[in-house]
Every structure is written in C-alpha cells, then in structure tokens.
C-alpha cells in the first residue's frame, strides 16, 4: 500500500474514534451523569483560579451547610471554598487534601471531623457516598491512586469512566433537565455562585431534647474505629510531610442521646490531634458562645439552617481572620468582582430561605437553576445580625 493511502486511512480511523470518544466525554459530562449539588460543588472547586483561595474547607454535609464562603469574604475579606461532599469518607478527605495541594496552595485547610467519627468503617465502602465524591473528581494521580487501592477490581472502570455506571440514566432524562442545565450553566459561567454552600430552608422541631448545653462538660472518650483512626494518622503524616496548615473543626449539631457517642469520639479525636500537634476546634461545645438556638437554627439533627450557618460563619470566619496562619492573598479586579457577586448571591439566598421558613415552606437551596432563578427577587444587601 502506498504511504499516502496508509496515512489517509490512519487519519480517517483516528478521526472516527476521536468523534466517538468526544461524544462519550460530552455525554458523560453533560447528559448521562448523576448530577447533584455534590457534582456542582466539586466541579466548582476545579474552576477556581489556581492559587486564588486563602482557605479551603473539606468535609461532609456538616461543613457545606454550616459555612458560607460569600459571607466570610464580605465580612472578613478572605476567599474560601467548600470542597465537600455528602457523607464523604475518610479516604475521600485524604484525597481532597491532596487535590487541594495539587490545584491550590491555600494558607489554611480546615477539615470537618465527621468522616472520622463514625462508629464503624462501613461508610468507607458505601458505594453511593464514595461515588458522590470520586465521580466528580477529574482524572488525577490522586484519584487513580484511590481507585487502584480501594475500588474492587470489577468496579475500577466505572470510577474512571462514570458513563459505564450511569449510561442507563437516559430513561430519566426528563427529570434531570434542571440539573443538566445547572451543570451546563456552571461550566459557562466558570465559577460557583455559592462556593459550595447548600442548605435546606426548614426549622427543625423535635420532641427529643438537645443535649448541646451539657457538651462543654463532657470529658468522656470513645475509641475511633481502627480503620478511620489509621486514615487520620495517614492524613496527619501527609500534612506534616507537606508542611500544610491544617486545622480540624467540628460543626455544631443538634446532639441527642442517640448521637452522643460521636461527641465522645470527637473528644478522643481532640486528644489524638493535640498529641500530634494539630489544632482541633469542636464547635459543638461552643454552641452557646456562638449563639446557636436549638429551637431555630437547625433543619435536622445533623445540619444547621441559614440562621445557624450565618452565626457559625461569623464566629469561625472571625476566628480565622485573626489567625496568623491565614494569609489573605491579593486579588485581580475580575476576582474581586466575582467574589462580590458570590457575597451578593449568598445574601439573596439567606433572604430567600428566611422567606420560605417564615411561610413554613420546606425547600433545598443550592447552586442550581431553580434556586438561582428564585433568588432574583431578593435583595443582595449585606445581612445585619
């Protein structure tokens, strides 16, 4: 065969397979994808300009429903992002820290302790929780490392190419249009309006009494699950090796008799961290100081609503702003504009949720087209407490 024919045929074949691969990638990114608020939050993190964040928060829903980066920027001027995912595993937390090191160099990494406080290590293999975080990470050595070490051999491909798992979602396309559009809009816009914050507009009412008032006096400890403790040690070793400024926090919860063991594990974690030279702030113990009202500031036992979140954000952000470890970097004009928009959106979201709760309506509020459309009618003026 002539060389020219050979080249032509090779080019044609390559073009064909390129078209197939591109189609698959587009399908995987925008159509046959299990998009939810976790996806938009994690994806938004990777849209952040390199080295533009002063602080990054890592953890589960406990942190992304508690801290409002827009509010922290508006009041204290530092930029932050919530690289968090629903019920994230301890392995997920470690990978997230590594991803932060790879993509940003924040002066401070704040880790919410939830992933290490479970009574057993079942969450580490909970397929839904693992997928919710790792499916949304782009290809990186850290993601591959996790897949290689932890994912069962027959499931490895679907972590690398989520289309294998989610291609059957075509039957649910009509129900997924809003999230698909939200995903597309986020990519077009290039940044997440809420920097990962999500909430539910609801005031939690319970017959089970809160034990929050007695937490400051609780000194009992319960051992951490051995696997989770080992992962914590690995995380601490990694942080030391890379000279990272890492602090651990525990967001306020509506603690009851049923969830009290976590408080004792939290105390144990504090001892471990202290011993290894890391700071741990169990804000569960400071609910009163923060001003958390158990009858108004939660939307369920594990999560605060915007009333609680704004108090916690002010308290934590003020503390961080006064911490020498937090270095506030310089920003370009475009960055400043974006952050003003983020703060404005956060203020609108607060008023929107306030409005819903006042009217007794329950609704999730997050970075998606439905919520963002609803915010248009609300004022973006700073919230006065």
């Amino acid at each position: 065969m002539k060389f020219q024919n050979y080249v032509t045929r090779t080019v044609k074949t390559a073009c064909f397979f390129l078209a197939v691969m591109m189609s698959c990638l587009l399908l995987q990114q925008y159509v046959l994808r299990n998009v939810d608020h976790n996806s938009l939050r994690v994806e938004g993190f990777y849209q952040e300009e390199r080295d533009s964040l002063d602080a990054v928060f890592i953890g589960a829903s406990d942190i992304y429903t508690s801290f409002m980066p827009g509010r922290a920027y508006e009041k204290y001027g530092f930029t932050s992002y919530l690289l968090a995912s629903e019920s994230i595993t301890s392995e997920g937390v470690i990978t997230a820290v590594k991803e932060v090191v790879r993509t940003q160099h924040p002066s401070l990494i704040i880790i919410e302790a939830n992933a290490f406080l479970y009574g057993d290590s079942d969450n580490e293999t909970n397929e839904a929780h693992v997928h919710k975080f790792f499916d949304n990470l782009p290809f990186s050595i850290n993601k591959l490392n996790y897949i290689n070490r932890k994912v069962p051999v027959d499931n490895k491909w679907e972590y690398m190419f989520p289309l294998i798992k989610y291609h059957g979602l075509w039957t649910e396309l009509p129900d997924r249009v809003n999230m698909m559009q939200s995903n597309f809009n986020l990519d077009l816009r290039g940044y997440n309006y809420l920097k990962g914050f999500r909430t539910t507009a609801k005031v939690f009412k319970s017959d089970t009494p809160s034990l929050n008032s007695q937490l400051p006096y609780e000194t009992g400890e319960l051992d951490l699950d051995p696997e989770l403790q080992q992962n914590l040690f690995d995380l601490l070793d990694y942080s030391k090796e890379n000279n990272l400024n890492v602090i651990f926090v525990r967001a306020p919860h509506y603690v009851t008799k049923d969830t009290y063991d976590r408080v004792k594990r939290s105390n144990k974690m504090e001892s471990i961290l202290e011993e290894r030279g890391f700071d741990y702030y169990a804000f569960e113990n400071y609910s009163e100081l923060i001003g958390i009202d158990d009858s108004r500031d939660f939307y369920n036992e594990d999560h605060m609503n915007v009333y609680g979140a704004i108090k916690f954000t002010d308290f934590l952000a003020e503390g961080l702003a006064n911490d020498d470890d937090l270095k506030i970097g310089e920003q370009s004009e475009a960055q400043q504009e974006m952050w003003k928009e983020v703060s404005a959106t956060t203020n609108r979201l607060y008023r929107y949720c306030d409005d819903l709760m006042t009217n007794g309506e329950e609704k999730g509020a997050q970075e998606d087209v439905i919520t963002l459309d609803a915010l248009e009618n609300y004022s973006d003026a700073p919230i006065e407490r």
């Binding site: 045929r9 044609k12 064909f16 078209a19 197939v20 189609s23 698959c24 399908l27 046959l32 397929e127 051999v153 027959d154 499931n155 491909w157 679907e158 289309l163 294998i164 798992k165 989610y166 291609h167 059957g168 979602l169 075509w170 039957t171």
Partner: protein, 544 residues
C-alpha cells in the same frame, strides 16, 4: 474468577487489544502462535483458574491418545508394506481387523476418559438424584451420595472439540499433532472457549499456527462483527433477560399470557445472546486472521425443524452429524434392521419400502436429539426438549411421502410466499414448544405451561403482570427496534448469500459508513445493559 473478563466487559476488550499488539509486533513469526496460547492460558486462568487442571488433563490425554492411534496406524501401514509379499489376502485382512480393533479400543479409552469427566461433573447430580428418587419410590433405603461438583468453564465445548480431533485422527482424516502446546492452543483458543463454536481440527488448527500479518480490512471487519455481537447481546438479549429472569425466579406464579409472552421474548433473547456471543468470538478471531465457522444462519427463517437445526448451533449439529449420526445410521445394526424390514411383507408395500429405507436415519436422528437434550443440561426438561425435536424430525422423515402427496393434491407450489410463510410459522411454533422446556424450571412446569397456552390466557391480567417485571415502555421500544434491525439484517443476509453485510458496507460512501458505525457504537454505549447500574446476564450458552 480473579476479575470479570467475560466477552462484554472492558477488561476483555483491553485484553484483546493488548494481545493484538503483542501478536502483531511479535518478532519471531514462526512462534506467533505462542502469543495466542499465552493469551488463552491467561484468559482461562483469569476466568476460572480453579478448573485449569481439567482442561490441561483433557489436552494431555487427547494428545497422548491421538499420538498412540497415529502410531498404531503408521506402524500397521509400515508392517503391511513390509509384509506385502509375505502375507496372503486373508492374513492382511486379519491383521487389518486386529489393528482396527486396537484403534477402536484406544479410542474407546479416550471416549471413556473425556466423556467420563464431562458426564461425572455435569450429570452425576442428575443421575444420582433420579436414581435416589426411583429407589425411594420403591421404599429402598440405599441412596447414592450427593457430591458438590463444579463445572469447569467451557467443558462441553472443549471436550467435544477434543473428541472430534481424536475421531479424525482415528479416521486418518488428520495427522496427530506432535506439539502438545499447539494442541493446547486448539483446545483452549480464548475466543471460543466460553461458548464455542465447536471447531473441527482441520478447519481451525492450521489457521492458529500460521503467522498472520496485520490486515486493516480484516481488523475492521472483525471489529464490526464484535460491535454487532455487542448490540445483540447488550442491547437486546440482556434487556430481554430482565423480564425473563424475573419470570424464572417465580415461575409458578404467572399465568398463560405472561408465560406466552416470556417464551416469545425468550426466542429473541436466546438468539441475540447466543449468536451475539458467537459474533464477538468470530470477530475477535478475525482480527488475528482466523476464520471460525459461523454458528448461525438465520434459524428463524427455517421452513422445517430439520432445516432449523442446520441453521442453529451449526457447529454442534455438524459435530453430532459427523461423530454420532453417521456412525449410528451407518452401523451394521441399523443397516441390517433396515434390510430385514425391507424383506418383510410390510417392507414390500410403498409405505414399508420408504420406512425401511429411512428407518436408520430417523432413529439415528432421535438418538442425536436425545444427546442434544442431554448436552443442554442435566435435567428431564432438557431431555424432553431433545425428545420433542427428535420425535418431530423422526415423524417428518417417516411421513415425508404423505406430506408431499398432500401438497401435490392441493396443488400448492412449494415456493409460494404464503406457503413459505406458513412453513416458517409452523417451524417457529415447533421451536417455541421446545423453548418452553428451556425456560420452565422443570419438566412438569413445562407441561403445565403448554396447557396454559390454551387454557390460561387472560390478556388484562397478563398485561398487569408483565408491567411489573422490570421493563419500562422505553425498554420495549428498544427491544422492538432491535428486533427489527436484526430482522432487516437477516433479510439482507438471506438475499445476498454470496457476500456479507460488512463487505457490502465497504462499498458504500465513507460518510454513510461513518454514520452507521458511529450510531452502532453509541447505541451500544447508551442503550446497552452493562456496568453496576445493571446486573448484566451471563451468556446463556456458557452454562452448557
């Protein structure tokens, strides 16, 4: 299984890709076949390393026995040549008979070893269960022990293939292979080990050992065939199996309408599953320059059950014809019985003359289909499946003159489209009755299902049942569209027997080919049943 490497996984595609790279880049042309052997061993080890002993044992015994037979043959020929002048005719004849008996004994040993292993592993449970049940019914306390036996991957396929090779050596149709590793490759060649086709040594072996160079067109055609197989298996068969599997799980609960629908769907599923798997096998082999026989030729277009079995699982049919049907039909017992009948008063009548002529063929057919039934599984329902097909074929052979007479009297032209349609429909009905015994959990349930076809039809209750069996409207649309695509492709193939669709496609404009292949790939990717979101089914014929 170390990890899932079945034909429809990405692991398998990667494995094929790596094997292909190594094969075509392998520098020592003479030893290219060792790449295929290494790949086959790797595949078998991954898919079922616990069973490797059995395939190695079968290969070794086949190798040694074939060499033994070959040595006896060559030694006898040499001796006959040496004694050509010394021995008279009778001495030569006597010696030839002795050699024949010796070779037969060796072959019997091979049969006992290879089919013995197969029979023990596959059928011990069935026979011990049946015997225990029988003894129990007579109030006898003796019972055969229950053993937990496993079935090595592809055992039926590689046992039949090995035995075919030994018989060919015995018949001196082929030379015995001197290299045990080459024989091991013939027995274990990875594209065919899971579900065939059952290849004949002379047809496959030399292709395996030949050093093939990379050929773009061959690779393209191979990949197109793999894509077609993936379409049939993942888009159609595995989707249909969602409903069939749900019915099989709770079979006795369903009424006539649901079971009728299930059997109809099973006809589609079984064909798409089995022929899809074979397409993948053949496509993979084709990439390496190896042409394996086609196991299917549009079986549902058959005008008689005889024709159906010539179009369905062709390699098994061919094997049984060569190594069972002919030896039985041409055996002295059958020929003598035929002759004896011919000489009776009945034998001298027109009907008797015909019956005595076709008796060996018809009885041999019944025996063959009994074996087909047993081959499919160790259960009375499979035996019923075999007997049903055998009896129909037997009747059709014996009654042929009567049927011909009726057709002639009614002045029906045999190529009349309506008559052809009637014949196809009639054959399909007979096939569907056989399928009932495949799907039903037992012989008794199979019989109950047949009764329900006539007495248990309740359309609205059936629709209500079917709607809860795991498929949604979109799935039925895909199944219907998929069935239409297969039908159209089959009609095209049926009308252009001298060429295949892939060659026809080569002659179309580039843009059209690109679009068709692109749509094919995207259809499999989007609509295929695979990944942990779905529970993909094993190949149906893998269990046989």
């Amino acid at each position: 299984m170390l990890f899932n490497i079945s034909y429809t996984t990405l692991n398998f595609l990667c494995f094929v890709f790596v094997t292909m790279l190594v094969y075509f880049l392998f520098p020592a042309k003479k030893y290219k076949w060792t790449v295929l052997l290494a790949a086959s061993m790797f595949f078998y080890a991954v898919a079922g390393y616990k069973y490797a002993f059995f395939i190695l044992f079968t290969t070794l015994s086949t190798y040694l026995i074939a060499l033994w037979i070959s040595r006896v043959s060559s030694h006898s020929k040499k001796l006959l040549k040496e004694k050509k002048k010394e021995w008279d005719k009778d001495q030569k004849k006597k010696y030839k008979n002795t050699v024949k008996i010796q070779k037969r004994l060796i072959m019997t040993l091979a049969l006992l070893i290879n089919f013995g292993i197969l029979a023990f592993l596959k059928y011990y449970g069935f026979f011990s269960g049946s015997i225990n049940e029988l003894l129990g019914s007579f109030g006898m306390s003796f019972s055969m022990p229950t053993l937990k036996l496993f079935l090595p991957l592809g055992i039926s396929f590689y046992t039949f293939q090995s035995m075919g090779y030994i018989v060919d050596v015995y018949r001196e149709k082929t030379e015995a292979q001197r290299n045990p590793f080459k024989l091991l490759l013939f027995v274990s060649f990875f594209p065919q080990i899971i579900q065939g086709p059952i290849s004949i040594y002379d047809q496959l072996a030399h292709q395996l050992f030949e050093p093939h160079e990379f050929d773009f067109t061959r690779m393209k055609h191979g990949m197109e065939l793999i894509l077609w197989g993936f379409f049939k298996k993942l888009v159609i068969a595995d989707r249909a199996y969602i409903l069939i599997g749900a019915v099989e799980q709770d079979y006795t609960k369903f009424g006539g309408t649901t079971l009728t629908f299930t059997i109809l769907l099973y006809a589609l599923q079984l064909y798409a599953d089995f022929s899809g798997g074979i397409d993948i096998s053949r496509g993979v082999a084709q990439i390496f320059g190896i042409d394996m026989i086609d196991n299917f030729k549009r079986p549902y277009f058959s005008r008689s059950i005889n024709e159906y079995w010539r179009r369905w699982h062709i390699s098994l049919g061919g094997w049984l014809k060569n190594y069972l049907f002919y030896p039985v039909a041409m055996s002295n017992v059958f020929i003598n019985a035929s002759k004896k009948m011919k000489n009776t008063r009945f034998g001298r009548t027109a009907a008797g003359s015909h019956i005595s002529k076709v008796l060996p063929t018809s009885v041999a057919s019944l025996i063959v289909f009994l074996v087909v039934g047993i081959w499919h599984g160790a259960d009375w329902k499979y035996i019923a499946f075999g007997v049903w097909n055998g009896v129909i074929i037997m009747i059709s052979i014996l009654m042929q003159p009567l049927f011909d007479g009726i057709i002639d009297k009614l002045h029906i032209k045999r190529q009349n489209p309506f008559f052809v349609g009637f014949q196809i429909f009639r054959t399909l009905l007979i096939v569907l009755v056989g399928y009932v015994f495949d799907v039903a959990p037992s012989f008794g349930e199979g019989m109950r299902t047949l009764t329900l076809f006539f007495t248990g039809q309740d359309f609205s209750a059936g629709m209500a049942e079917i709607s809860k069996l795991g498929l949604v409207t979109a799935d039925y649309i895909i199944l219907l569209a998929g069935a239409i695509v297969i039908l159209v492709a089959s009609i095209i193939q049926e009308r252009h027997l001298d060429t295949d669709i892939r060659t026809m496609l080569d002659q179309k404009p580039l843009a059209l080919r690109f679009v068709l292949l692109y749509l094919g790939i995207m259809t499999v990717i989007i609509f295929g049943i695979y990944g942990s979101g779905y529970n993909a089914a094993d190949f149906v014929y893998m269990q046989f």
